[in-house]
């Protein structure tokens, strides 16, 4: 990665300001590689110095400098040697530390006064586009010109790359320019090469003194600099200003609209719960197992129904089971209540003795997550082996999808849905299952019923 600093001063003056002799090339050893400083222009009224980092990518991986998780540094192939990142900030403070502190033995008055400066950074990562890049530098009085590099010009379908060559021009004190770069580059990159700890907040506040508090994008800067660690971000923001600090979560990358968002206006989840509870009451179930319980939304409602003596929730995801434990406050439950419920880690595709002996089973918005060829196993597990008196199955009604304005035509409501059935498709499947395993089935709709498209959710109630 490369940072060039140009100034409308003589080469000699820039040398004094940066504390680096223009007649020589300088090299510094850093933990992650080498930093080189050399001059590319030494005119009478304009000079330019370059800070070039030579990062050893293999050394990074081997030294176990991992960021944890799926970071770039887990792999030998990574962009760290080229992309401007927190390495640049580390190098800045090591190589131009005196200049950043605003001291110059020979040219203090130059150091204290605004100069015409220009910084060029290659390659500066900024995923969120040029407007965002500008919004960080322009409020500080800089003019920004930036050129975006394609990810790969041969494959435009891969989309834009995140890297820019950015030129930042303005009249500022050298120390300020360096400090702004020190804070804003890692904020743009958001992939730090070291763990973000509480002392990062101190560093941010120290370097941001005098300008960050009034910066209109301070939340985004804090969020990026602190790698989206929410607690740290809140802490930093709270300490930055007394005024309302805004909502740091608003700066999170916008998430795709999903099923829940789509269906929210209908309050479908609640209506489903109500419908399922009504069915359980109708069959006078005393015990029920919720298959695919997820984080336990339905279980919570089941627990409130005192007529249920035994409740179990099963999910294939261990993380969901843990989340359900927390949501239901299983560990704080009084023993009498705790005795009514158990959570099971298991799968709908495996015969499981723990699922036997229940009056009813609920399978709410689950089957559409199974690959169609695997439904046969699910059918046997539930209707042949667990074989409760009643089984309640709900699944989206595909016909209703046209009623969701946000959903493109012929798309499913959730990325993990393997299918969504029309009412006839569901009816055919359910009737065949009922016939094979000796159940009867009737169908109910959940949610506001459209004259043509039917209800948003369809429900089959199987009984022996």
């Amino acid at each position: 990665m490369l940072l060039k600093i140009g100034a409308a001063v003589s080469g000699e003056d820039l040398g004094y300001l940066l504390h680096k002799n223009p007649a020589r090339a300088h090299a510094f050893d850093l933990a992650f590689g080498k930093a080189h400083v050399f001059y590319t222009r030494l005119g009478e009224d304009h000079a330019e110095a370059a800070l070039l980092l030579d990062v050893d990518p293999i050394g990074l991986v081997r030294s176990g400098r991992q960021t944890g998780g799926e970071g770039a540094l887990d792999h030998y192939v990574n962009d760290r040697p080229y992309a401007a990142s927190s390495f640049l900030s580390v190098a800045l403070s090591r190589v131009f530390g005196t200049a950043m502190s605003g001291k110059s033995k020979e040219r203090q008055e130059l150091a204290d006064q605004p100069l015409d400066l220009e910084a060029t950074i290659a390659a500066l990562p900024c995923q969120d586009g040029e407007a965002f890049l500008r919004s960080l530098f322009e409020p500080l009085g800089y003019a920004v010109s930036a050129e975006r590099h394609p990810l790969d010009e041969q494959f435009p379908e891969w989309g834009d790359g995140p890297y820019w060559t950015a030129r930042i021009q303005g009249r500022a004190r050298l120390r300020d320019l360096l400090t702004h770069i020190y804070v804003l580059v890692p904020a743009l990159d958001a992939e730090k090469h070291y763990w973000v700890g509480p002392d990062e907040v101190e560093k941010l506040l120290r370097k941001g003194e005098g300008w960050l508090a009034s910066h209109p994008r301070k939340e985004a800067i804090a969020a990026g600099y602190l790698r989206y660690d929410r607690t740290l971000i809140r802490d930093a923001l709270a300490r930055l200003v007394d005024e309302d600090s805004g909502d740091p979560e608003a700066e999170d990358h916008a998430r795709r609209r999903e099923e829940a968002d789509l269906e929210t206006p209908l309050r479908l989840a609640e209506q489903r719960t109500g419908a399922v509870l009504a069915c359980l009451r109708a069959v006078e179930a005393r015990s029920v197992v919720d298959l695919g319980c997820g984080e336990g939304k339905l279980l919570k409602a089941l627990l409130e129904d005192r007529s249920l003596e035994r409740i179990a929730g099963m999910d294939v995801s261990w993380r969901s089971i843990e989340a359900a434990q927390r949501r239901l406050r299983l560990h704080q439950m009084p023993p009498a209540q705790r005795g009514r419920i158990e959570l099971i880690h298991g799968s709908l595709l495996y015969s499981d003795k723990r699922l036997t002996g229940f009056d009813a089973a609920t399978v709410v918005e689950v089957i559409e997550h199974l690959d169609p060829p695997r439904l046969a196993a699910f059918e046997r597990v539930v209707f042949e082996r667990a074989a409760p008196r009643a089984v309640v199955v709900t699944t989206p009604n595909f016909e209703y999808n046209v009623k969701f304005p946000a959903l493109p035509a012929n798309r499913l409501r959730h990325r993990d849905h393997r299918f969504e059935w029309t009412r006839p498709q569901f009816a055919v499947w359910a009737a065949a299952v009922a016939d094979r395993f000796g159940y009867s089935v009737r169908f109910l709709g959940i949610g506001p019923e459209d004259f043509v498209a039917g209800p948003p959710t369809q429900m089959g109630v199987f009984a022996k």
Binding site: W318, L349, R385
Partner: protein
């Protein structure tokens, strides 16, 4: 005096305090075999004489005993055990684990015990305690056998105690030292002609002279009858004569069947219902001399419930044998061997409804059994039923062990009408052509998946799967994997050699070869590596092969899946097209014939890389290339400008020029494996091969 005890016993020592039980135990048994109540008291209370701890101490004692018995280990209980209520749970425990309860009583003079206790200062209790215990002991002596002890040994003097020698005897069913090879023969039911036919097919020499009939196995081999020699069939005495003579000559073993046992009861004059073909036995044996009937009764009565053979690798029992009962001895074991497990209900034909123990069987031993007629012998979880209903007009079947080969001869006629239609199961369209194992495997059991698992492999070491990994795998396989019946092979990730010690190389051939040599590889095949996505392709000759080999019905002739068992293609048409093309190639090249196989599993690298790994390319490879090609030209330009001012930077310029060149070559390298995919044609025809891709693809 020699005390014979079965090798798997629960030995209960009985005697008042001071009679020398602990010394006796130490002398005759290993320290780990002895569970002493004193020690257990000390474990819970730090005082081996603390009577308040007795109840907890015995709980521990029984718990350890149960673990030992479950593992099949002889266990000695060193406690006074003079009261019936103390012994009762021990007998129950032995029965629970099908171990034999043995009582050894040290019935020594009271005075001796009192004197011994007096010399032991930690035993502060007075002589009245010993007196009470001795009294209880004397009262118990007669009842011990009634309480359920199968062996009772009473030592009544110091001399007897000191002269005692313990001899452990293997159970009758333990024939682990008999390695065969064996010919295991299914239910004969008096079908003598077919039995002779079968023995001849098995290369036995069969000679008949007068009323006698003898059969001699090929050298080294031995026959094993799975029982039910009698009832229903036409020549019951002849079958018995042959089996008895073979058994006597050491040419055959025989386990009893339920019909054999019922006949014994009848012969012994018990009142039994004359049903299910017993009439034929009574009738035919009635024409034999009484002496022969007595021999038959003695022979059948002496049969051992089941046999554990060949170092425990083979178990033969009439109706099968659960793992936890194999090699054990108890009434329950015998009942299971004779009748299997039933629900207690009867079906529409009046026959008991059987629980299918075999589908739950997970033991290591092969279990060969009969009892319930089936159309064909079929393997299920290392068990096989070889009763192919000869007497009902089916066939008589033998299993050759260890060859695992079935030999059958057809029934010459139907001798007896079965109570329910035979063969009873008309396979449905879905299960037709599937083996019992495949039908069973249609539904997997969660118990076989969850929790920590240690899996023995046929070719390599055991594999331990940690509980959390099993849990994660359950989710991954349930949510994403294809039908597990296809997933015979999940490829390992490429196993690289260790990173080179020479810093400028990631790997270096010399070190790699040394590494493989050290790991025991004697041959290394080197191929050019192409960047594609790992794909496993299974192609069968036709759908019937998919059904018979994989048990997969209605999913086409094969599958293409990723290294984690997910379907490679989201569009079924592309997958079908790919499979069809490979199928065509296999036919055209004559590979089916050359490999003598009806199916192949290909481990491939499917290109283009970008088809499956676009996210990886975009997030990692593309980005790295983009960043390098954005930053390095700027760096080179800056260094060139610097070089005009100062010669010092010349080496750095050279280094960065080289870096720039390498960055471009890096991008070129991954680009060679990226192209747009619109249809199956865009997956290069040469991209799949039986091993890996050998040549880079020429476009078009």
């Amino acid at each position: 005096m020699t005390l014979k005890i079965p090798e798997l016993s629960l030995v209960v020592l009985i005697g008042p305090s001071g009679c020398g039980k602990s010394n006796f135990a130490r002398k005759h048994f290993a320290p780990t075999e002895i569970l002493s109540s004193d020690l257990c008291r000390a474990l819970v209370s730090d005082d081996e004489n603390d009577q308040e701890a007795t109840s907890d101490a015995f709980e521990i004692l029984r718990f350890i005993a149960s673990k030992r018995l479950k593992a099949g280990r002889l266990t000695v209980v060193d406690a006074t055990n003079v009261q019936a209520e103390a012994r009762k749970p021990l007998v129950a425990l032995a029965r629970e684990y099908h171990a034999i309860p043995v009582a050894i009583v040290l019935n020594l003079p009271e005075r001796l015990c009192v004197d011994r206790n007096r010399s032991r200062p930690e035993r502060s209790f007075g002589p009245h305690v010993v007196r009470a215990q001795a009294l209880q002991l004397r009262r118990s002596l007669r009842a011990l056998e009634k309480e359920g002890f199968r062996h009772v040994q009473i030592l009544s003097s110091v001399e007897e105690v000191e002269g005692a020698v313990i001899e452990r005897q293997p159970l009758w069913n333990n024939r682990k030292g008999d390695h065969g090879p064996f010919d295991i023969i299914g239910d004969v039911h008096g079908c003598f002609e077919e039995l002779v036919d079968l023995l001849l097919r098995l290369d036995y020499q069969v000679e008949a002279s007068g009323g006698e009939c003898r059969a001699t196995p090929p050298p080294g081999r031995k026959a094993i009858f799975v029982g039910d020699l009698v009832d229903r069939g036409p020549k019951i005495p002849a079958v018995l004569r042959l089996a008895m003579s073979m058994a006597e000559a050491g040419a055959a073993l025989c386990v009893p069947g339920n019909h054999d046992m019922k006949l014994v009861r009848k012969l012994r004059g018990r009142d039994v219902q004359i049903t299910h073909g017993l009439a034929e036995s009574i009738d035919q044996l009635g024409r034999e001399p009484a002496e022969f009937r007595d021999q038959v009764a003695a022979f059948l009565d002496g049969l051992v419930s089941h046999y554990v053979l060949d170092e425990g690798k083979l178990v033969v029992a009439h109706a099968g044998m659960k793992e936890e009962m194999q090699g054990r001895g108890s009434g329950k074991v015998r009942d299971f061997a004779l009748y299997g497990e039933t629900t207690g209900e009867t079906d529409e034909f009046g026959l008991p409804v059987r629980l299918n123990w075999a589908s739950e069987y997970r033991g290591r031993a092969m279990v060969v059994y009969g009892h319930t007629p089936v159309a064909e012998p079929e393997w299920l979880n290392r068990t096989v039923n070889i009763d192919t209903g000869c007497v009902f007009g089916g066939k008589l079947t033998a299993l050759r062990y260890p060859e695992r080969e079935f030999v059958s001869v057809p029934a010459r006629q139907t001798y007896y009408a079965p109570a329910k239609p035979f063969p009873d199961e008309q396979p449905s369209a879905v299960t037709a052509g599937l083996t019992a194992q495949q039908r069973h495997d249609d539904l997997l059991e969660i118990e076989d998946i969850l929790g920590k698992r240690i899996i023995g492999t046929r070719l390599h070491r055991t594999v331990t799967i940690r509980e959390e990994n099993a849990a994660a795998a359950l989710e991954a396989m349930s949510r994403f994997a294809a039908n597990p019946k296809w997933l015979i092979y999940l490829p390992p990730t490429m196993s690289p050699s260790e990173t080179s010690r020479n810093g400028s190389w990631l790997e270096y051939p010399d070190e790699s070869f040394a590494y493989y040599r050290h790991e025991g590889s004697h041959a290394v095949i080197c191929q050019q590596k192409h960047m594609g996505s790992r794909a496993v392709v299974i192609v069968c000759r036709d759908e019937d092969i998919a059904r018979s080999r994989f048990g997969v019905v209605g999913e086409g002739i094969g599958i293409c899946y990723t290294r984690t068992g997910r379907r490679f293609f989201t569009e079924p048409d592309i997958e079908r097209g790919l499979l069809a093309r490979i199928h065509q190639a296999l036919c055209a090249s004559g590979l089916w014939e050359r490999l003598k196989s009806d199916w192949v599993c290909l481990d491939c690298e499917l290109m283009p890389w970008s088809a499956k790994a676009q996210e990886l390319l975009r997030r990692q490879y593309g980005r790295t290339g983009s960043a390098a090609r954005a930053a390095l030209p700027e760096a080179v330009a800056a260094l060139e400008a610097a070089g005009r001012l100062n010669a010092e930077t010349a080496p750095l310029l050279e280094a960065f020029k080289e870096r720039l060149d390498m960055a471009q070559r890096f991008v070129d390298a991954y680009r060679r494996y990226c192209w747009r995919v619109h249809s199956l044609d865009d997956f290069a025809a040469g991209a799949v091969s039986s091993a890996r891709v050998r040549r880079p693809r020429s476009r078009g």
